[in-house]
Structures are given as C-alpha cells and as structure tokens.
Symmetry: C2
Subunit: 420 residues, 2 copies
C-alpha cells in the first residue's frame, strides 16, 4: 500500500520547471562570465550559519525571518528549553553579506587584496508568502573588500550594468547617492543628527507620496516648518546629473565633506564615459536604501517596465570589523536574480545561441543492431554540438512529435529497423 | 566595541576558496553542457523538504542525519513539545532522489515523458565530521523517469562516462549488475528469500575480505556449507564481460528471468559499442549497492587511483509510486561531485581554455583622465575575451605583482599618468 507523501513543496518555496531552469542556467552562466571578465572570483559559504552570527543585528529586521536549525543528539534538551534559541544552533542564511563578512574574517590571509568576490546562492526568509515572493530565493552579489577608493564603486556599477545590457534590457536607470550627502542635506536644513533616521524613512517615500506628502509627514512629525521647507527646496533645485553634485558642493558648503563630493563626481563621470551599454545614470538625492549597514555610496537599478529595483548596493565600511575587530573598506552590488528571471519569463525571453535540438524516435522493439546505428548517429550529432534526445516511439506518434516540437526539437527522426 | 562573532563556518561545513571554486564552476558548466547534449533538462527543488517526506524511510538510515528546521511563530509550542518532530516541520534534503520523486508526482502532467532530469544541488547530512567528508555537499544526479526499457540505462551510462572522459580521467571502470541476478544467484545456491538481504550485506564485503572471508562469515551466520560453496563457486566461474551473463543464463536456468539477462546483454553491448571515451565495462555480480530502493540494474564507477566509487546509480521502479500511488519506471546515475573535485584538486588539474587574465596597476591618485584611459583599455580587453583586473598599486609593487602572477595574471600593466 502506497504511503501518503506530500506532493507539494513546503509552504512558500517552489519547484522549478525545465522552461524556467533554462533561463536560470543561462543567466547564471552569463553572470559568471561577465563578472569574471571584470576580475571577480567565485566564492561560496555554507547555507547554514551560526545562529549567533545571524542574530547579531547585522541584518536588522531579518532575525525573525530566520529558518532555525534544531540542535541534534545530546545537545538537544527539549525538556529544559525555555526559548527558541535554546533549541537551535544554526540557521539558514538570510543574505550573502553576513556570510561574506565571516568568510573574509576567516580567510583574509588566503585571499587577494583587494578581494573581488562573486557569490551566487540561495538565501531563505520566512516571510509571509505572497505572489512572486518566495521563502527560498537566489541572490547574486558582487563585493569588493579592501578597496577604499571610488574604483570599487566604478567597477561594481560597470560590471552590473554590462551584465544587464547583455540581457537586452533597455532604458534602465542607475540611481546613485551617498549617505554623506543625505546627512549633509539634513544638517544644512537644520535637522538634528538623532532625527536623521526618522527623516530619511519619510524621505524614502518621495516616489510614492511626492514632495508634498513628504512635507506633510515631516511637519506632522513635529519638525520645524522652516527646516522642512529648506530641505524640500534643496531636492527641488538639485539636478540629476553630475551638476547636481556641483550645486550641492556650493550650496551645502562645509556640511558636505569634500571627499564625498569628489568621489561622487569621479564615479559619475567615469561610469558615463566607460559604460558598456546604454543606461541612464541619475544622481538621486532622495535615494535612502534601508539597510543600516551602509556607510557611504548607495545605488540601485530601476527599470521603466518594472516597479521597484532590480539591483541595489552600496558601501559598508564598518561591517567586516564586527568580525575582525578591524574595519575593512567594503562595497557591494546585488542583483535581484529572481526579479530578473521573472522579467525575462514575462517578456518571453529566448535564450540566445541555444544548441540545435534533435530527437530520434525508436520503433518498438528496435533490434540491437539498429539501436547501435542510432547511438552512433547521436554521438556524431553531439560532436557537432547538438542536443540529442533518443526516445521510444509512442502509440500516438503525431502527438509525441507535437510535444517534442514544443520542447524545441526542430529535427525529429523516425527510426525503423528496415529504414536505418 | 566590536562584537565577538564566529569566524569559522558551522561544524562540518566548509567555506570554498577561489582556487577550488574555479574548478567547481568549470565542472558544473561541463556537467550541464554534457548532460544537456544527451537530452537531459535541468530542474530544481527547494533545499527544504517536508519533514514527513524525509522521515518516510525512503532514504533508509538517513533520518537520523537530517538537519531539522524548527516551526515558526504560533506553530512552535516549546512547552508542549515531547519529541523532536513536535518542534520541526521541515528538514534539509539529504539526497536529490526523494525530492525528485515528489517533484515528479507534483508536476508529471507538465513534464516531458519520459522525463530526463538533471539536478545539481547541495544536500545535507549530520554525519560525524571526518576528513574530506562534509555535512553540506553537492550532488549531481541524472534520472530518466517513465522509461522502462534498457535505453534508460544505456543513456545514463553513456552520458556519465562521456562527462568523466572530458575531465581526462583514464582507466576508470563501470561496474554493472542487476538485483535480479543477485537474487537468482542466491536462489540457485539454496538461500531463502528472507535471508537475501543478510547474504548480500556479507557479499558486499568481497572487495575487502575476499571470497574466503565471505565464505567464513556466511558459515558463521549459520548458512549451510553446501549452499555457501555453491554460491561462491558461481562467482568464481563467472567472467566480467557479457559472456558472464551468457554463462549465468545457462547455469541458473529459470532462476534468472529471461528479460533480466536480455536487458543486461543489451546494455553491455550497446555501451561497449557506443561509448564516447575509453573505460572498462565490467559485469560485477558481487556489486550490491546499499540503497534498498533499487529494483533492477545497479551500477557504479570506480577509479584505479581512488578507493571507492566516484559515481553510482540504478533502477528504482517503485519509488515514484510512493507519492503517486502508481509505479513509474525510474533509473538514475549520481556522480560524486565532491570526490571528483577532490581528485581534480589533488591532481593539480588546470581548468582548460580559461580566459587570459590581465591586470592594470594604477598609480596612487591617478588623475581622472588617466583613469578613463585605463577603463577604456580594460573594456577593449574584455571585448577580446580577457578577464581584466584593475587595482590600485601598492607600496610593495614587486610583491603585489608576484601575488597577481600566482593568481594567473600573465599580463600586468603599470599605469602612471605620465605614461598612458
């Protein structure tokens, strides 16, 4: 008697069917090839991390989203357990950044300096399930550790955009800002440092509620009308290209550190000159990005035909120090792998230069000698670079051929013993 | 004050450094390319499975090795929990076969028939840590579901050996047997069906303890001396090529099902004729393979310079039915990904046709105009297919260059503003 096993995947996670896998495999290949051409090297950490590292507040709100791994054997003491972390000693990683910091701390002596890391791997978050968002999803990060200069940002942006360009994405925009500019604009407008976080959370809504909405919310929160008006006037006056930086440099004076302005100018002009595909580069002083670990430049990629960002990143010079006790300059760019796959699927993207697919249909009970002939032909086809399928002929051969045509088999050969 | 975070990976799992990643990335690319050329298609399941599916005895002894995932939120009732499975609702998969069976049961209407699946993914087992064995490791399986004929075995063996051949492995051996032959030899010798499992466990030690050792153990277990002698004489007389099958067909008479012998003959002669690289194909009547789910053919690949197998598989026609209620013919071949990586690393394997690597060393405070020149040169290099690294020059330039040379950068360009 067959046992009743569960057929569906676990809640919020998905099985990936062949058509989507074809795009994913192609995308992973393209990512590796492109990023390696920019000098990045692959690395990998285990999917399971120490529970202490995951719960260390590096990841902000992510702790409650962790899939925790139960202790095993004698270490698991169910009757003495009072809280969750008495029972767990590990958890599935919720991003690739905390594991990268641990990896770098553990291996910095064995790694090139600077270390240009490429990671492609799954992460897990026990979010409320919703359409298009899954509890296991692929992340793809590039990070440069040990490079304090703007060269890091320039290369991260050039590499990421080169990769997106190869997927025929048009009209995407790289938005760029710096935490130093965010702070300088707030300081110039008269906000106090302890209020910055709250002000930035409201500023971050500019896209959705507009300047007036931001103004209203800030005033509702009790900030001085004068400060709020000064603040919003700045955003109104600043332009979205490198002249916006020049304007702020003059306007904000000593509130804006000289090196922040210089670095932004260098990044923007270098990227404009050296970019490998067409896109818009946009100085975006309203860009906040949520993660508290960013310390300098922040950037993201948005697409006209997609609400929300498809890539994001920035500089986080003080995270590695949490592991090593010594700060290491660090900057990263993460592409939204799943979003890009979704966009490609929706656009009916065809993987380019896929191999020619050929199928041999074998007559029922094909004698051994004929089978050997087919195997020899298939071998020759593969040597010519084809993908070859050998299958037994079904009763409904017409239907079988339609199915194979649908799977991309352009050349289908009937194999009867008397005709080989 | 920096917090003390843990730098080492969790017990029994490992960080993968760039040199090993280069080999892993290459191997994954080669596997995908080769198997796709045999008509296999990629598929993927979540790393987390239902705890019920993992604990359903499909995997035999694997249950106690499962990393269990704790329930979350209100579902976790620590004070009411009596045993482990009150606290867990999922677990990390310990192989790719149980998830494949679930996937096929869930999606068979959306999949080609037969379904030729390629899976490359991590699995987790909480084994006692030991040298060279890790608690997270990559598995790489190909399976053909819905193909009852020997065509499945032939293609699995041809594809797996073609892949190994492309890695320049020489002198490997494909050992092949059939559960039906195992049973027929035991029946002919007078063993009772209920004793087969015990007999086969002892037979499986032939490699280690020799025929005499097997004989002694069987007699110690209380089996009739006459049966044991008949049994061992069979192994002594049978040859390791297809004539061994002919011999058994005659000798065992009706104990050996006609279709088992025919299928073995067809597989062996087809593989010999159509194989795409040099290897030994060896009929191995002592081959047992532990997994209880095998129902017919079993096979494995051994290498002269490596104790133990580097790949294994067989037919398991009754597992899918555990999910669907209806048996589906199934046959698979799994390569020991981690063992192969280890062998390649030990042999100092060089990834073939790696891109030419070029590095630009930038003088300190290189002016923007010069930087742009370097970025333009790098772009051109990439267009020519090179991997390009741009880094700031260090104080000890000689040491830096030695390091880069060690990383494979053959062409290193000093970039001074006055010489660009």
């Amino acid at each position: 008697m067959a046992m009743a096993l569960k057929k569906k995947p676990v809640t919020g996670m998905k099985d990936i069917l062949p058509a989507e896998m074809e795009i994913r495999d192609y995308l992973i290949g393209l990512i590796k090839k492109t990023y390696k051409s920019f000098g990045f090297t692959s690395m990998e950490t285990p999917c399971v991390e120490h529970i202490e590292n995951l719960c260390s507040k590096q990841g902000g709100d992510n702790e409650k989203l962790i899939f925790k791994i139960m202790k095993r054997g004698e270490k698991l003491k169910i009757d003495q357990a009072k809280e969750e972390n008495d029972l767990a000693d590990g958890g599935l990683r919720y991003d690739l950044t905390v594991p990268l910091a641990r990896y770098y701390a553990n291996h910095s002596n064995e790694l090139p300096a600077p270390f240009k890391a490429l990671q492609i791997g799954n992460v897990w978050r026990a979010d409320r399930p919703q359409k298009g968002r899954f509890r296991q999803f692929m992340q793809c990060d590039i990070d440069i550790l040990g490079e304090a200069s703007a060269l890091a940002e320039i290369e991260l942006i050039l590499a990421t955009t080169a990769m997106l360009g190869k997927l025929d994405f048009k009209n995407f925009t790289v938005c760029i800002n710096d935490r130093g500019i965010l702070r300088a604009m707030a300081a110039y407008s008269g906000f106090k440092e302890e209020d910055y976080d709250e002000v930035f959370i409201i500023l971050d809504k500019m896209d959705k509620i507009g300047a007036e909405g931001v103004e209203n919310e800030l005033i509702e929160m009790g900030y001085a009308k004068e400060n709020v008006e000064t603040y919003l006037k700045l955003f109104d006056e600043v332009s979205a290209d490198v002249t916006g930086i020049h304007y702020l440099k003059e306007k904000l004076g000593e509130y804006l550190p000289e090196e922040t302005a210089q670095s932004m100018e260098l990044i923007m002009s270098s990227v404009e000159e050296a970019k490998e595909c067409e896109f818009n580069l946009k100085f975006t002083p309203t860009l906040v990005r949520g993660q508290s670990y960013y310390t300098g430049t922040i950037f993201e990629v948005t697409m006209d035909d997609f609400g929300g960002s498809v890539a994001g990143g920035g500089r986080y010079d003080r995270m590695i120090g949490k592991f090593t006790g010594q700060d290491t300059p660090a900057c990263g760019f993460s592409i939204g792998f799943e979003r890009i796959v979704m966009l490609l699927l929706e656009n009916g993207y065809k993987v380019p230069a896929a191999k020619e697919k050929k199928a041999y249909l074998l007559e029922k009970k094909l004698p051994k000698e004929s089978m050997l002939k087919v195997l020899a032909m298939a071998k020759k086809d593969r040597e010519e670079g084809k993908q070859v399928l050998i299958v037994n002929m079904k009763k409904n051969k017409k239907f079988q051929k339609e199915q194979l045509t649908g799977e991309g088999y352009a050349d289908i050969v009937d194999c009867y013993a008397d005709r080989l």
